[in-house]
Amino acid sequence: MTTSTPGTTPPLAPRPAATAKPRGVHHPGTPSVRSMLIKISLLAIVDSLAVFALFTLLLKESWVVFGIALAVTLAINYIYLKPGLLPAKYLAPGIFFLAIFQIFVVVYSGYIAFTNYGDGHNGSKEDAIESIIANARTRVPDSPTYRLTVLEQFGTFSFLVTTPEGEVFVGGEDRPLDEAPSARLDSTGKAIELDGYTTLDFGSLIQNQSVIADLSVPLTDDPNDGALRTPDGSSAYLYTSALEYDAEADAIVDTATGERFLDRGDGAFANEAGRELSPGWKIDVGFDNFARAFTEESIRGPLLGVIAWTFAFALLSVGMTFALGLFLAIVFNEARMRGRKFYRIVLILPYAFPSFLSGLVWLGLLNQDFGFVNQVVFGGAAIPWLTDPWLAKASVLIVNLWLGFPYMFLICTGALQSIPDELTEAARVDGARPWAIFRLIKFPLLLVSVAPLLISSFAFNFNNFNVIYMLTGGGPRNVSAGVDAGATDLLITLVYKVAFGSGTGRDYGLASAFAILIFIIVAVVSIIGFRRTRALEDLN
C-alpha cells in the first residue's frame, strides 16, 4: 500500500537539533516557482468564480448574501496571500464546505422551522400578488391584435410586439414592455428583428411552443394593467385579470363580484368566510409549527407514536445487533476452531452489501403474495410481513439485525482479542468459572472500549433512513393521521415525507420543526451517553 511506513523511519528520528526546535515557529521556506504558480492559478480560479457570483448577486440586489460572499472572498485571499497563517491555510477548504453545507444548513433549518414555508407559501408577498393576478387572467374580449415576433436571448424568450398603431415594444416574463425604436420592420410594418436578440424561426417556435404559450409579458409595472399572451406565436392579445390588487387596503379585489380578500396575517389573502387565494407567501410564524405538532390532535398522536417507535427501533436495533454480534464473537473466538477465516468473511457479506439494496432485496423476500419467505419458508402462507403494523415493525427489526450484526461482530471480536490473556488466566487460577470470568472480567472491559461505538450506533439507527424507507416506506400508513405517518416511520423518514412527499403537499416549515426535534433529542442522548462512558472509563 505504502512506500514506507512509520516503522521504517527510525534513522531520521534521532536528530536532536530538529526535535529541540520550538514548536509553533514555522519558517515558510522558499517556495518553488512551480508551487507558486499552482497556488496563484488556483486562487485565480476561485477569485474569478467569486467575482462572477458577486456580480450576479449585485444584479439581483441580494445585499446580505453579497456582503457575506464578499467577506468570504476577501478572507480566502488574505489567508492564502499572507505569509504564515499556516493552520488557516490547511483548514480553510474543509471549513468552507463545512460552514455552508453543514453548519449553515442546520441554522437555516432552524429558521425554516419558524416559517410557513411550503407548497403555496414559497415566495414573497409581491410574487404571490403577481401570481394570483396572473392566474386569474382571461383574454379581453375586444383586445386589439398585437403583431408578434418571438425573440431569444441567452436562453430566455422575449416578445417583440407591434401595436395596431405601429409602435414597437419589447418585453418578457417579469420584464414589462419597453419601447424598441431600433427594431427592423418588414414591408408590412411588423417588427421582425432587434439587435442583440435572435429571431425564432418557425421550427424553433414549434419546438418551444409550450414554453411560449405559457409566457405572459406584463404591459406595465402595475400587474393590474394586464399582460400580453400568445396562442400561436405570431399574434398577441391583451389578458387582464378579474382580480385586482388594492395597494391602499392591502387587499385583492374581485372586480366582477366585488368580493375582497384581505391579508389577515396568515401569509395569504382570505375572504370573510376564510377561503384563501392560492398561492400565499412565506411569513414567520414563530412557534406555530412546534405548537401545531404538539397540540393539533391529528398530528400529535401520530408524532408521539413515531417518536416512541424511533426510540424503540434505535434501542432494539443496537441491543439485538450487539447481542448477536457479541455472541458470535465469543463463539468464534476460539483458537482451536477451524475455518474461522471463512466464517469471518462470510459474516461480513451483509455489511459489505450496499444498504439501500438490502432493504429492496428484503422487500421482495417478504412480499406477501409472491415472496420467498411466505411461498417457500412458510409453505404458501399469506403472512402480511410489511402491511400489518406490528409485523412490519418486527420485519424492519429483523432486516436491520441482518444488516447490523456483522459490524457488532467485528468490533466485539476486536475488543475481545485486545483483552490480555493474563487477566482470564489469573481468574481461572483463582477458581472462577467461565461464566463468571466472562460476566465479571471480560464483559466490563469489553464494554469500556465498545460503549462509545454503541452510542454512535444508537445515533446512526435513530436516523436509519434507508432501511425503513426502502423496506416499508414508513408504512403501513396510519390513515387517521393528519400527516403522512405510518407504523414504522422514524422521525427522519417523517421529515422527508412531510417535506417532499407526494401525498399531502410539501410543508417545509413543519418538516424542519421535526428535524430540529431530532437534533435536540440526538444531542441530549449523546451528551448523556458520552458522560456515562467517561464514567465507565474512570472505572478502568
Binding site: A17, I112, P350
Partner: protein, 297 residues
C-alpha cells in the same frame, strides 16, 4: 449422542462428544449464521439469473442460469442503468477524493500545528459527527435552489452541487480518524525535512501523505460506500433520470412495480453490489482497524 451405534468404541465416542463440546457446536452456530447471512444474497443472485422476470418465478433458487436480465438492463431507455452506474461511480469517486483531501489537510493542521482554537476545533469536529447531513435535507434543498439562481451549474439537478453537499460532511466524519493516525507519524520526520529546506507544502504532499496512505484508503472507501448508499439528498437534488445515482434510480424502478421488474432489479443489484463488496473484502483488514480506532485510544 444417543443415536451413536453401540459398536463404536467408548474412547472414540468420548472424543466425539468432547469435540462437539469444544468446537463442534460452534460450527453448528456458524452454519446457522452463514445461512442467515447469505441466503438473501444467494436469492438475489439466483433471481438475477432467472429469465422469467417476476418475483414469484424467482422462488426456486438457481433453477436456470441465464444472463438475459443483464443484457436487458442496458437496453432500457426509460431506466438508463448504465448512466446510473457511471453517475454513482463518478460522484462517489470525486466525493471520496475530495473528502480524503479536505480531511487530510485539516488533520495535518490539527496534528502538527499548535494554534488558538485547536482544542475547540477538535471538540466541535466530534460534535458535528453526531448530526448527519440528512437532518438538514429541507435546508439543503432550499439552499441549492438559491445557489441555482446564481450558478445554475451548481443548483438543483446538478451533480456538481450534490458533490459539494457531500464535501460539506467531509470534515465531520473522518477528520478525527485521520487525526489519530497522523499523530502516530513521528513529528521529527517533518522537522528533519524542514531543516533540509522543504516547504510545508512539500512536507505535506511529499512525505506525510505517503506515510498515512492506509488511513487515506480507509477514509476514501468509507466515504465512497457512504456516498453510494446515500439516498435522501441525492433523491431531492437529482430529478432527471439521466443524472441519477443507482440508489435513486433502482429505488424508483423497483418501488413502482416490485414483482414485475424483480429479476431485472436483481441483476441491477448484483452489478451495483459487486464493486462495493469487492473493495470491502479487499480492504477489510484496514476497515476493521479503522472501525475500532475510535474506541481503542
Amino acid at each position: 449422542m444417543a443415536t451413536l451405534p453401540a459398536s463404536v468404541p467408548v474412547r472414540r465416542r468420548r472424543s466425539a462428544a468432547r469435540w462437539f463440546a469444544d468446537t463442534g457446536w460452534r460450527h453448528l452456530v456458524g452454519i446457522a449464521v452463514v445461512i442467515f447471512a447469505t441466503f438473501p444474497l444467494l436469492y438475489v443472485l439466483s433471481a438475477s439469473l432467472n429469465p422469467t422476470g417476476t418475483l414469484v418465478g424467482s422462488n426456486v433458487l438457481f433453477r436456470s442460469l441465464d444472463i438475459s436480465n443483464y443484457i436487458e438492463l442496458f437496453n432500457r431507455p426509460q431506466q438508463p442503468y448504465a448512466a446510473w452506474f457511471a453517475n454513482t461511480l463518478v460522484i462517489g469517486l470525486i466525493a471520496a477524493a475530495g473528502t480524503v483531501f479536505l480531511g487530510a489537510l485539516a488533520a495535518y493542521a490539527f496534528s502538527r500545528m499548535r494554534f488558538t482554537g485547536r482544542r475547540v476545533g477538535l471538540l466541535s469536529l466530534l460534535l458535528v459527527q453526531m448530526f448527519p447531513q440528512l437532518l438538514g435535507v429541507v435546508a439543503i434543498f432550499l439552499l441549492l435552489s438559491g445557489i441555482g439562481d446564481i450558478f445554475p451549474a451548481l443548483g438543483l439537478g446538478s451533480q456538481l452541487g450534490l458533490i459539494m453537499v457531500y464535501l460539506g460532511g467531509a470534515l465531520g466524519v473522518n477528520t478525527y480518524l485521520m487525526y489519530g493516525f497522523f499523530n502516530t507519524v513521528p513529528a521529527s520526520i517533518d522537522e528533519a525535512a524542514k531543516l533540509d529546506g522543504a516547504s510545508h507544502a512539500q512536507i505535506f504532499f511529499g512525505i506525510i501523505l505517503r506515510l498515512v496512505a492506509p488511513i487515506l484508503a480507509v477514509v476514501g472507501l468509507l466515504s465512497f460506500v457512504g456516498t453510494t448508499n446515500e439516498f435522501v439528498i441525492a433523491s431531492i437534488v437529482l430529478s432527471d433520470p439521466q443524472t441519477q445515482t443507482l440508489a435513486v434510480g433502482l429505488y424508483q424502478f423497483v418501488s413502482q412495480e416490485t414483482s414485475k421488474n424483480w429479476t431485472l432489479f436483481s441483476a441491477g443489484a448484483v452489478l451495483a453490489a459487486i464493486p462495493v463488496m469487492a473493495l470491502f473484502l479487499f480492504l477489510q483488514r484496514y476497515i476493521v482497524s479503522g472501525l475500532t480506532a475510535g474506541s481503542v485510544k
